[in-house]
Point group: C2
Chain length 458, copies 2
């Protein structure tokens, strides 16, 4: 009995000491980042010296070369590229959009949706019909839709606390609306921008055509212009809409994922990765989407390296290519991981903007494990406000890993979501809208989580 008690005591003591050590290490991670953080400066370079970097573009290639050089400058154990072919869509000349009411012509702000086709060279004019859901197309049928432009105008539901949920429920209009409207003979599609914000920015983003469908031109319209169009449609049945877009899809282009690695001292073939996507839309600098994510990812490794941390497992920062319009980088990474028989323990994706961290979503852990995560790590992360640790998570770039390796835990980094869709996919997604401390706190929170996973596993 006495022995058992001593053992128990020693176990409790060890656990307590470990917790104290974890707590100290996490404090040091934050101190390093908040005092010597480099991700804000790196983001400035990416946004201002490179700028937009849509897949297949010369700028994307510039960012790849620079990203590799940056990682090498930090002296990680390995820095390498993974070649992958990516779609190469180009916008062409700026779009035009006009509401036509008799002799009255009202110009509006539009932007072609990613991966769409051009209008005829002189533009496209047709009657326009407003709908609020894909289902409504089925009700209206070909008779009401054929030959017309379909205007999807269901706004964000403001009642969601997290804006990403509003995006999720309004998003089908952009993702699937054009293909659905084409089935009923629509000649074009205009989609209300996916944001609650009332502004003049069209929010672009990819749409998905379907196999054997007719590919019709589709554009996003700013929310202010969407309201204007809707209100004009209420007053008159004779409204037409004109738009012209000049985009095209070129042959696939060669590109790369960029990867930096700290070698595991105990389990070099076990990996914990953190990543975002290097490509951006072409309308601005891709600051929050996803410059912040990739600059945070490399910063996680920089912090651990500069602190002299020797990870048990290998830790990687991954700049995935082509998240916005193809996910080829994420697919390639997973394919190679399987091919090389790399065991992935956990993958964190940071692609919801560089805002103040709130926590993480976990996909692939049991309810009991999640409870343990909350009990043990929640307390350690609470002083930093990063302790909302919930089920869910994942992300487009790390999703494919799950298909190849069942045991991997996919983790979505969850920052404050209120401002993300103010800038998402717009000309306004620029460096000036990123806050230095918010960005740094996010990087530190991911470094802290990776440290905990590396030390304790799940």
């Amino acid at each position: 009995m006495k022995l058992k008690l001593t053992l128990l005591f020693s176990l409790v003591l060890t656990t307590t000491l470990l917790k104290a050590q974890d707590s100290l290490m996490i404090r040091k991670i934050y101190d390093e980042e908040l005092v010597n953080g480099q991700c804000y400066g790196n983001l400035h370079y990416l946004c201002k010296n490179i700028g937009q970097r849509i897949s297949g573009s010369a700028n994307a290639q510039k960012a790849i070369v620079w990203g590799e050089k940056l990682m090498k400058s930090y002296g990680f154990d390995t820095v390498f590229l993974q070649p992958v072919m990516v779609p190469h869509w180009v916008r062409g000349a700026k779009e035009e959009g006009v509401i036509i009411q008799g002799k009255n012509r009202v110009p509006v702000h539009i932007a072609a949706l990613g991966m769409t086709v051009a209008t005829p060279k002189n533009g496209l004019t047709a009657a326009i019909i407003e709908v609020h859901s894909l289902k409504q197309l089925d009700t209206l049928g070909e008779k009401a839709i054929k030959g017309k432009i379909v205007f999807f105008n269901r706004p964000f539901d403001p009642r969601f606390i997290e804006t990403i949920q509003a995006y999720g429920t309004a998003g089908d209009q952009r993702f699937a609306g054009p293909a659905a409207a084409a089935k009923y003979g629509a000649v074009g599609v205009i989609v209300r921008s996916l944001t609650e914000s009332l502004d003049i920015y069209p929010h672009t983003g990819a749409t998905l055509y379907v196999k054997d469908g007719v590919n019709i031109p589709a554009a996003a319209i700013s929310t202010i212009d969407a309201n204007k169009l809707s209100s004009m449609l209420k007053g008159s049945a004779s409204i037409k809409f004109y738009f012209k877009q000049n985009c095209q899809t070129l042959p696939d282009a060669p590109s790369f994922n960029v990867i930096g690695e700290m070698k595991g001292t105990e389990h070099p073939n076990s990996f914990i990765i953190v990543g975002g996507h290097l490509d951006s839309w072409d309308l601005a600098e891709g600051a929050h989407d996803d410059g912040t994510g990739i600059m945070q990812s490399v910063e996680v490794l920089r912090i651990l390296k500069v602190m002299g941390y020797k990870p048990k497992n290998s830790i990687r920062a991954v700049f995935f290519i082509n998240e916005e319009n193809g996910d080829r980088g994420g697919d390639k990474y997973a394919e190679l991981a399987a091919q090389n028989k790399e065991e992935h323990i956990a993958a964190i994706e940071t692609d919801l903007g560089g805002f103040t961290p709130r926590g993480f979503g976990f996909d692939g852990v049991s309810a009991t494990t999640l409870q343990n995560i909350n009990n043990n790590w929640g307390k350690l992360l609470a002083p930093y406000g990063s302790n909302v640790l919930v089920a869910g998570g994942g992300g487009s770039d790390i999703g494919p890993l799950k298909e190849k390796s069942k045991q991997v835990v996919l983790i979505g980094y969850l920052p404050d979501s209120q401002r993300y869709f103010d800038v998402h996919h717009t000309p306004n997604d620029v460096f000036e809208n990123v806050n230095k401390r918010e960005l740094e706190l996010g990087a530190a929170s991911m470094a802290a989580l990776i440290y905990l996973i590396d030390q304790h596993g799940f």
Copy 2:
């Protein structure tokens, strides 16, 4: 035994039903605010049609008249003003600040600290000495300081997770620095702006002269210019500094607190209040400081009123006057509350900006009560991310209530603090830096807390 069990069961059932009712009510509060919120529009009016409203100014009076009208338009049970005399400090013509190094003259961005005196009419030129603490003045002594300008240049400590803590530890330089330097014969004081942000904005704010001290002129300098000055001082001992400021303190002026009230149906003489301050500094629109606070306060009442809620206790929105340079409004409110024998249950102050809510700080509750608050209300507020419920709290405007009535619980509204000191007391504190949803979520979180206090007490 059976009866007891039945009683217990019935108690559990009642508690469960009450919780379900609370949960439903809170959801309705958020829905009302996120769908029909008016505080963002009201803030726009305040910022753009009135603007800066320093105590004693014509603009402050305009804001008082408009605020009263706004509250009346919402049909609260009572709307009234509390007369109070306030300090009347005016900045006068824009300040000039110049670093002088031989023939080299480097202009810098400065702004007089609130309540300070002017320089001589033609400005003040003197040698300048950099210090990092008030204690260092004691070490240096009169010999090193007399006849010089003292330059306080201790930066924010970036390691604090909440910026308000960095403000707290750097703030003595501004609050007390000028008076302390004057004791050793300094002729003027320049204070590094109280922010971590590197920018060109001088951050003003009040300083406190001491009785029987010599009142010397004192100004804030932008952080970029502070770094420049410090670096020039390192390179040369012969640096002088010139500054000119034209401020003066006029006789006290008549002013008012503005109060709107919903009458309690059970305990009309018991009060729960929520408030911010109506006055602002004179450099910008006082958007986050504290336009957001007063617009949220009136919104709390608007939400409850429009939902048809009949409070048990009386609920007030209070626009306090003169928080920035005198606290006369807060003092007057507490004085009248005591005089009128009003029982105050709780007072919430919202004066840390209109950012995403994180929770509340409670001053005047026992550890057990705070634990109960967390157990019961924490769960109800968690879906809205407003569940950091900690000890501490209070605020300048509600503080005096505590002196007069011991039982009142003082509550500080705690929004995300990362961006507050980017704009605090600068020309950049404008409407454009406020996010609609962040502001609304804050208003809803305070309405929810007031509902819970009104229903359940502490």
